[in-house]
């Protein structure tokens, strides 16, 4: 494995104005009728339905697992979501509740959301989730170490966690809202990819701003450059703040135009969201019936 310093040094500078302008362009596209329906179904299949609250209960997690399998039964032919995202102590329960539905269980770990604890505890956290059957681990990077310039530490930590994941796929949360600049986001993306992250993810959802289009674009470009260099694909997961279908469609356009069709699959692209699913469902029913919908007729999320 090459020394991490070489990656951080080779991160190209990000043209902030250019990125923001480019991200804006994706928001001017008009997606209608058939393409829209296809996009909406794709969004549903890419959602990591998430509950990460201190007040989560077994009942809440079971309800979420049921929703994941039965998004809106009165509309035929809907996909299920990609995964359920919960805290480690709910992994076993979610696994049981999802049964053989093929919906994955993702668990946050490594002292989510702050990541401020020792490496041993973080690794235990990861192993616990993996032992209980988590298919995917969402880790947070040590932002404090990153800002202190200890990029080697951040790199090593991700590599260790990846090791502890075993066969489970690793998503690396950069928490872009705490990184400050696009240059930092790019640097953190490069470190996470080099250290073996299967996915890079924008945010925990606990910090504002969470996922934005420009910041996601910076990360997508890091993935693209890595792909050009090595031929390896890395997944992307924007999380937090994507709550309506229109915005999610714009994200898909951005992914397609930055990375290409291969990434338009829930193996490589996810939305971390909770309220997005209902908005997409309302749009789908609107397309089917011609009438704008009310949240009163959809399950609570």
């Amino acid at each position: 494995m090459p020394h991490p310093q070489s990656f951080t040094c080779s991160s190209p500078p990000v043209d902030q104005v250019g990125v923001i302008e480019r991200a804006k362009r994706f928001q001017t596209r008009s997606v209608k009728t058939q393409s829209k329906m296809q996009g909406l179904r794709m969004i549903l299949s890419m959602i990591d339905l998430t509950t990460l609250e201190g007040m989560d209960t077994p009942g809440k997690v079971k309800q979420l697992c049921f929703k994941a399998q039965h998004l809106h039964d009165s509309t035929a032919g809907l996909p299920t979501v990609a995964a359920i995202c919960v805290y480690p102590n709910f992994v076993a329960l979610a696994k049981r509740a999802l049964g053989d539905s093929k919906i994955k269980v993702a668990s946050v770990a490594t002292a989510f959301p702050s990541g401020n604890t020792s490496l041993e505890i973080k690794l235990d956290d990861v192993r616990m989730a993996v032992d209980q059957g988590a298919d995917e681990i969402d880790m947070v990077i040590s932002r404090g170490k990153f800002h202190a310039g200890e990029f080697g530490y951040v790199y090593d930590e991700i590599a260790e966690v990846k090791n502890a994941c075993g066969p489970s796929r690793l998503k690396v949360i950069l928490e872009t809202g705490e990184l400050g600049t696009f240059d930092n986001v790019r640097k953190a993306s490069d470190i996470a990819i080099a250290a073996g992250g299967d996915f890079i993810k924008t945010s925990t959802g606990k910090i504002k701003p969470a996922a934005t289009m420009p910041v996601t674009l910076v990360m997508l470009e890091a993935i693209r450059d890595h792909y050009f260099k090595t031929g390896e694909m890395v997944g992307m997961k924007p999380a937090g703040g994507i709550s309506n279908a229109k915005l999610a469609l714009q994200y898909l356009i951005m992914v397609q135009e930055t990375l290409g069709d291969s990434w338009l699959d829930n193996h490589w692209f996810r939305f971390g969201a909770s309220s997005l699913a209902n908005d997409v469902l309302m749009q789908i029913v609107k397309q089917n019936t011609g009438a704008y919908q009310s949240a009163d007729y959809f399950s609570i999320d």
Binding site: G290, A291, Y292, Q293, S294
Partner: protein, 302 residues
Amino acid sequence: MAKAKNNSALDSVQILKTYKMYIGGNFPRTESGRYYSPQVNGKSIANICRASPKDMRNAVVAARSAQPPWASRTAYNRSQILYRIAEMLQGRSEQFVAELQIQGLKTQDARIQVQATIDRMIYYSGWCDKFQQLFSSVNPVASSHFNFSVLEPTGVVVLLASQTSPLLGLANAIAPIIASGNTCVAIANEDQPLSAITFCEVLQTSDLPPGVVNVLTGKLDELMTHAAKHLDVNAIAADQIGTPNLEAVRADAAGNLKRIADLQIDWSDDNQAQNPYLIEKFCEVKTTWHPIEQISSSGSGY
């Protein structure tokens, strides 16, 4: 040097004002980019946004999110805000008179209409904390229960505003709708929408929370279908939109059990336009059964 004939640059250069719509406390243009120019005596008077179904949707979203907090304000506070609207109207009354004249009204009629609008806002301001006492009841029941009925706002109300009374008709219909805690999406008079939008400038500066009143301009027959079919709209107030239109709205609304109020009101008539039953029209009655125990052998349970 030649003396300029007009004092104002705006008078000398004839550029029509472009009015925007009022959604969620902001003044956006229509997302569709479509405009129309209503005419008076064969002359265009302004550029007006022609709202699309998506604008309607956005307005309903704004109204829906504004509704619970608006309803949970105290009745007294809603009353204060309605009174404030009247005060702001008073301060800008000359502008409204001038604008009504642009829309074809005679000066005297315009003055009467503006004054009536101010009076009606004060009238409904007074009712905010009084209609509940009038329409609620404690009901006698044959069991040991305290049984009472109270009014609750119905939710989001779409107003298909008067096509004859551009300012008074709109404001006079909005006031009783919002008095009880409903929020409103109004579709303004198609041919005379100017004062509706200027009225929104009054609303915006009257402490009325964003989204409580939203005003769209455009073609009634295009927008009313989407309003009637919209599942998140709880009621429609139709102000003399004609029998065929009303039938169409009723048919479209049947699928979601929407409340339809057919307002047959002459807004210039105090006796018709000042009426607490207009508040009651946009409320639902909630009846609660509360068990009581017999605490006194002399009869009274509570």
